[in-house]
Symmetry: C2
Subunit: 654 residues, 2 copies
C-alpha cells in the first residue's frame, strides 16, 4: 500500500530523519509523527490552526513591519545602524519565530502567495548577514556595543537559536528549498561554534534557547559540531559564568549546573528552554545522568511549582518560578511563552521516557495556557495569564503595542512581543505533538479529529482516523484504515483525571474479538492484527469535577477549582445573576456537585457580604452568606471574550 | 516655673513656630511636641535610638563614603563629573537623609565631634552647588543628561526634597547655625520655583517628596513661594504630565488627581510621600476638600490595602500597592521606606484630624515595620519586609552592598539604599511622634518611658513623666510633675485592639478624686486641675490574641495571625521542636488560646503531613495532623536574628 499524506504527498517515514516535526531525536523511545503523518482535521485545535493561518500570521507580519523590527534588517544591510533601529534587543527573534511559524504552515498547506512572502523576508535577513556569518541588528556595528559584550541581557545567542529553529522548520517542510535560509543559519552556527567553542568565550547566553536549536540544526545537517556546541553551553551554565544581577543568577539558571539541580527556578521561559536543550543533548549523547536530572527537575516542578492551568512562573518581577508551593493566584504570571516552553520540555521528556504524565501536563497546558492567550480571532493575546482578575481589565487599544505584560484585556502586540509568534509557531506545528510510534505501534497522546498515516521501522504501514468532539465530549473513536500485516499495539493515554474511563474494541468483522473494559489513568493498549474498519473507542468521563489544592499552597487555601476534562473552568463576573457584580463576593457551596445543563457547567454559589471594617484584621471573622444561586462557569481559555470582567479560577468554599 | 528640657535648655514653646519637629503645621488641630518637649528615656524605642546613634549613623557614613556617593559631590565640585560618578540617580538623597538624621540626633544630644563631621559633609555639598543654585551630581553637567530632562526616573526634585528636609531639621535643631545648609537649600528651592513655577515646566517629579519638603521649608523660612510651589506640584500630578511606563502612570500617581482619588495606588513610597505633601498643602491653605480626599484615601487604603503589620506594597515588580485585598504573604513587599512614608502621612492626618485610628496605624507600623528592618546592632537592614519566608534566607555579606531588596537576611547596604538612612532619620526624630498639645491639654499617642515638658497656648506649663515597660507590659503610668494653674485634659489613646482597657487616676493628695474606669478603644480623657504627683494609669490588656483576616484577602484565607499589644508575632523555624524543621508544615489549633509562659507567647500547633502527589491539585484534599505541640512565637520585629530560618505570620488553621 502506498501511503499518501493529507497534502497528497507520498510518505515513507520509517527513517526518522525524514520526520517533519520540530523535534526529531536521533534516537529515542518514541518517534514523533510529523506533519503529513498526523493531520488535524477539525475540532478545537484545527479551528485554532485555521485562525492562526488566516489571521494571526498576517497580523504578526503587519506588526513586525509596523514596529520596524523587520526594517532593522534593511538598516543593517544598508549599513545605517544603529540610527533608526527600533525594538528591544531581542526583536530579531520575533522575525525568526514568525518565519518558523510560516514554514510550518507552508508544510501543512502549501500556498504560493505565502511562499513568496516567506522568501521575501528571508531575503531581507540574508542581506543583513555579515561576511563572517554574524547576524544581529543590535550589536557589533559601528556605534553599537561590540558583539558578545552583553551576554547577560543581549540575547544574541537567543536570537541565533530562533533563526536556527526557523531554518530547521524550513529544511524539514521544504527540503532542498533554494531560499538560502538553512545556509544563513549554518553560517551563524559555524561562527557561534568558532566563538564559543572549547577554546572560545567560556560563557553562555543569559536566555537559553540556542542549545535546543543547535541540537536540532545538528540533526538536520548531520553536523556533530553543533550538538557538541549545545553540550558545551548546557554544561557551562550553572557555574556562575554570568554576572550576578538583582534577581540572582538563578534568573538565568546560572546558579546550579543542570545536572545537579533538583527543580526548575528563575525565569520560567529560560528554565524550560534550557531544560529542552539539555534533554536534546542528553538524547543525542545518551547521557542518562543528565536525562535523570531533568526527570527529577520535571517531577519536582510539576508537583510544587506549577499552576492548576499548567502555567508556570509565579513572579511578575523576574517572570520567574517561585519557591515550592508559592503559587498565588493574585500575582500569577504564567507567561504564555513559559507554557509553550514547558510543552517543549515535556514533549522531549515524553519521547525519551514514555510516561503519560508528560502528555498529561502538555494537555493541561495546551488547553489552559496556549488556548487562553489568543483571542478568538487570533489578533490579540495575553502575555501573562493571571488566574484571578480582581478589577476588570481595560480594553486594549488595537492600534497600540502594549507596554505591559498584564493589566489589560488581550492586546494586539507588546513592546516585548515574544508570545504572539511563539503561539503561531506552536499552533502551526501542533500536528506534530499528537502521536508517536515505536517498533510496536502507535501512541496517541492528544485527542483531536485527525488522520494518521505512518510506517513503523519494519515497514508496517499504519493508517488511522480519529473522530471525537473532545473536549466537549469524552468519546474518542479511532478507526483503523488499513489491514495490518502483523499484530501491533495502539496505545491511548488515559489522563490522570479520567478515573473510570472505558475502552472498547469493535472489530470490523462484527463481534469476534470485541471487548470493553475499564482502563485506569495511564496508558491503555490494544494489541492485535488490526483490520481496516476496526474501531477502538475510548470513553473519558467528562463530568465536571472539583480539584483541591495541596494545603501548602497558601495562595488558594480553602478554595476549589472546577475542571471538566482537560479544561480548567473559571467564574466570570458577566455570568453572575443580576445584582451581583464581583466574583470576589461569591462563595462555592462545595456540598453540591457541579452539573452540566444544556452543555454548560453550573456550580452552586452563595453571595458573601463582609461588614465594612476600618482595618481588615479583626478578633472574629464576620461574613454573611446569601441564598444559593446556580451560576455557569466557562472554560478558562474562553474568559474575557465578552468584555471586561472580574474572574476567578479558585473559588473559596463556604 | 521655668521649664528645662532634658538637654538642659530652657523651653517656651507655646509659639508653634518654635517647635523642634519634622512636621510643624502653621495651623492644625494638634500641635506636635518636638525634640526637647518629649524625651524618650528608656525602653523599646530609646534602646533603638541609642543603637541608631552609636552604630547606624557611623555605619551609614561609612557606606556613603565607601560607595562613593559622598565623593560624587567632590567630583562635582572639581568639575570632573560624569567620569567616576558612582551610585544610582538618587544617591545624593541618601547623603541628605543621613544629614537629616544627624541633625535630629544633634538636636537630641549635642556632640562636638559629630557636629564637626556634620559640617564637613555640608561643606562638601556646598562646594558642589552651581552658581544658579542647581545641585545634583547626576544631571546637567557636560557629558551628563540635561537638567530636568528625565522627570519620570531622574529623581532630581526628589533629591532636592531630601536636601530641604535636612536643612529644615538643622534649622529647627540648631537655629542660626552658620553651617550654610539652609542657604544651600533655599537656593535650590528658589531655582525649583523659577523652573517649575506657574510659567515654568508644567510637570512633576516621578517620585513625590519635594512637595512635603517645600511646605516645611516654607514653614521654616516663612517664604510662601515654597508652599505655592508645593501646591502646584500637588495639583499638577494626576493629569498625565509624565510619560506612560510599563507599570502604568499610577506608578507615580499621575493617573488621577490627588483630590479625585479614592485610594492609594502605585509605588507605595511615592504614594505616601505625595499624600504627606498634599496633607501639608491642605493644612497650609485650609483646603478642606483636599483634606477630605486624603482622609478618604487613607481610610480605604487601611481597610483594603495594608498588611497586618501595617506594611504597604504588595508587589515586588513596581514596589506598589495591589488592588483591594490583594495582600499575599507570599510576595509581600512591604518596603521599609513605605512604612516610614505611611507613618509620615498618618502623622500629618492626625495633626489635622485627631482620630486615634491614625495613631493606631502609626503604632502598628512602628513596631512591625520600622522595628523589623534594622538588626539588633543597627548595622544591617531589611529593605522589603516579607510576611512569609519559605526558604531560609542567605546570610548577607557584611562587606557587600546587596543587589536585591529581598532574598537574604538583613544586609548592610543596598545598591538602592533608601531604607537605612530613612530609618536613621525616623528614629532620631521619633520623640516628635509621641505626643501633641492643643488649647485644652496634651495628647499621648504612643507609649514609651518619657519626660514631657511643654507649654499650652495660654502659657500653661505642663510637665509629665511616663513610665512603662510597654509593649512587654500593658501598664502605662503618667505622673504629673507640675501643679496646674487651671483644669486641662490629658488624652490617652486606647488602641483599637485594647478592648477592656482600664484607666485609673490616683491624685497626689490621696484618695480625693481618685477614679478607675474601663475605657473603650478610642481616646480616654482625664480633665482636672492636676497637681504635681497625680498619677494616671492606663492598663492595656496584653493577652495575646488572634487576628482573623477579611475573607476577601485570598492570600491568607483559612489562617490566623497572633498579636500581643502592638506587636504582631511570628512563627520561626528555629523555635520548632526537634524533628520539625519547616514552619510550612505546622497548623494552628485555633481552639486553644495562646498563652504567656515565662514571658513567651505559646500557641498550640500540629505538624501536618501531606502525601506526595505528582500534581498538587487532586480530587480530594489529603493531609494528616500529628500530635499538638506548644511552640513559642516571637515578635515579628525580632525574627531572623538567630540565623537563617523559615517564618510565617499567618498560621493556617486545622
Amino acid at each position: 500500500m502506498t501511503l499518501i499524506d493529507p497534502a497528497g504527498r507520498t510518505i515513507a517515514r520509517s527513517d526518522r530523519r525524514a520526520v517533519v516535526a520540530p523535534v526529531v531525536p536521533g534516537s529515542s523511545a518514541l518517534v514523533p509523527l510529523g506533519v503529513g503523518e498526523v493531520r488535524l482535521t477539525g475540532g478545537f485545535w484545527a479551528t485554532r490552526q485555521r485562525v492562526n493561518a488566516a489571521n494571526t500570521l498576517p497580523h504578526i507580519e503587519h506588526w513586525l513591519e509596523r514596529e520596524g523590527w523587520l526594517a532593522n534588517f534593511d538598516l543593517a544591510a544598508a549599513g545605517t545602524l544603529p540610527e533608526g533601529r527600533r525594538g528591544r534587543e531581542f526583536s530579531d527573534s520575533e522575525v525568526y519565530k514568525y518565519l518558523e511559524a510560516v514554514a510550518w504552515e507552508l508544510g501543512r498547506r502549501p500556498d504560493a502567495a505565502i511562499e513568496t512572502r516567506f522568501r521575501a523576508v528571508v531575503d531581507r535577513i540574508a542581506a543583513a548577514q555579515e561576511p563572517d556569518g554574524y547576524l544581529n541588528t543590535r550589536f557589533g556595528r559601528p556605534g553599537q556595543e561590540p558583539r558578545w559584550s552583553e551576554l547577560e541581557w543581549g540575547h544574541e545567542l537567543y536570537c541565533a537559536g530562533h533563526l536556527f529553529q526557523a531554518a530547521v522548520a524550513r529544511a524539514r517542510t521544504a527540503p532542498g528549498a533554494d531560499d538560502g535560509l538553512l545556509g544563513i543559519a549554518t553560517r551563524v552556527a559555524d561562527l557561534v561554534c568558532d566563538v564559543f567553542g572549547e577554546q572560545g568565550i567560556r560563557s553562555v547566553c543569559g536566555h537559553a534557547e540556542v542549545e535546543t536549536a543547535l541540537v536540532e540544526l545538528g540533526r538536520v545537517t548531520g553536523d556533530p559540531r553543533y550538538i557538541e556546541q549545545a553540550r558545551l553551553f548546557v554544561e557551562r551554565r550553572g557555574h556562575q559564568v554570568l554576572k550576578d544581577i538583582e534577581y540572582g543568577r538563578s534568573y538565568f539558571q546560572d546558579d546550579i549546573p543542570v545536572r545537579d539541580a533538583d527543580v526548575m527556578r528563575g525565569h520560567a521561559v529560560r528554565a524550560n528552554y534550557l531544560a529542552s536543550g539539555a534533554a536534546d543533548v542528553a538524547s543525542e549523547l545518551g547521557d542518562d545522568e543528565l536525562q535523570q536530572a531533568l526527570r527529577r527537575q520535571w517531577l519536582n516542578t510539576i508537583a510544587r511549582r506549577t499552576y492548576v492551568t499548567g502555567g508556570q512562573g509565579s513572579h511578575h518581577q523576574d517572570e520567574g518560578f517561585g519557591e515550592d508551593f508559592e503559587l498565588p493566584s493574585d500575582r500569577a504570571y504564567s507567561e504564555t511563552c513559559a507554557g509553550i516552553a514547558s510543552i517543549q520540555f515535556s514533549w522531549r521528556m515524553l519521547l525519551a521516557e514514555p510516561d503519560p504524565a508528560y502528555a498529561d501536563l502538555i494537555e493541561r497546558t495546551l488547553y489552559n495556557v496556549l488556548a487562553t492567550s489568543p483571542s478568538e480571532d487570533g489578533r490579540a493575546f495575553y502575555y501573562a495569564n493571571t488566574l484571578q482578575q480582581r478589577v476588570p481589565g481595560a480594553v486594549a487599544d488595537v492600534e497600540e503595542a502594549s507596554l505591559r505584560a498584564s493589566a489589560s484585556l488581550r492586546a494586539p502586540w507588546f513592546e516585548v512581543s515574544c508570545c504572539p509568534p511563539n503561539i503561531a509557531r506552536t499552533l502551526a506545528s501542533l500536528d506534530s505533538y499528537v502521536a508517536t510510534r515505536d517498533a510496536e505501534g502507535v501512541q496517541l497522546h492528544q485527542y483531536a479529529p485527525a488522520v494518521i498515516r505512518t510506517r513503523l521501522e519494519d515497514g508496517e504501514d499504519i493508517a488511522l482516523t480519529v473522530q471525537t468532539e473532545y473536549p466537549d465530549d469524552g468519546r474518542v473513536t479511532v478507526r483503523v484504515d488499513a489491514d495490518a500485516s502483523r499484530t501491533w499495539t495502539l496505545s491511548l493515554r488515559v489522563p490522570a483525571w479520567a478515573e473510570g474511563a472505558v475502552l472498547s474494541v469493535d472489530p470490523a468483522d462484527g463481534s469476534t474479538g470485541s471487548e470493553q473494559r475499564t482502563v485506569p489513568p495511564g496508558t491503555a493498549e490494544v494489541t492485535r492484527a488490526f483490520r481496516a474498519g476496526d474501531t477502538i473507542t475510548l470513553q473519558l468521563p467528562m463530568a465536571p469535577r472539583f480539584e483541591h489544592p495541596d494545603p501548602r499552597i497558601d495562595g488558594v487555601r480553602g478554595s476549589i477549582a472546577v475542571a471538566r476534562g482537560p479544561e480548567v473552568l473559571a467564574l466570570e463576573s458577566v455570568d453572575l445573576p443580576a445584582g451581583l457584580d464581583d466574583v470576589a463576593d461569591m462563595v462555592l457551596d462545595a456540598s453540591i456537585a457541579p452539573v452540566v445543563r444544556d452543555g454548560e457547567v453550573l456550580v452552586t454559589l452563595r453571595p458573601r457580604s463582609v461588614p465594612e471594617a476600618p482595618f481588615p484584621y479583626t478578633p472574629a471573622p464576620g461574613a454573611e452568606l446569601g441564598d444559593p444561586v446556580a451560576v455557569r462557569l466557562v472554560p478558562y481559555h474562553d474568559w474575557a471574550e465578552r468584555g471586561p470582567s472580574t474572574m476567578r479560577i479558585w473559588l473559596p468554599t463556604a
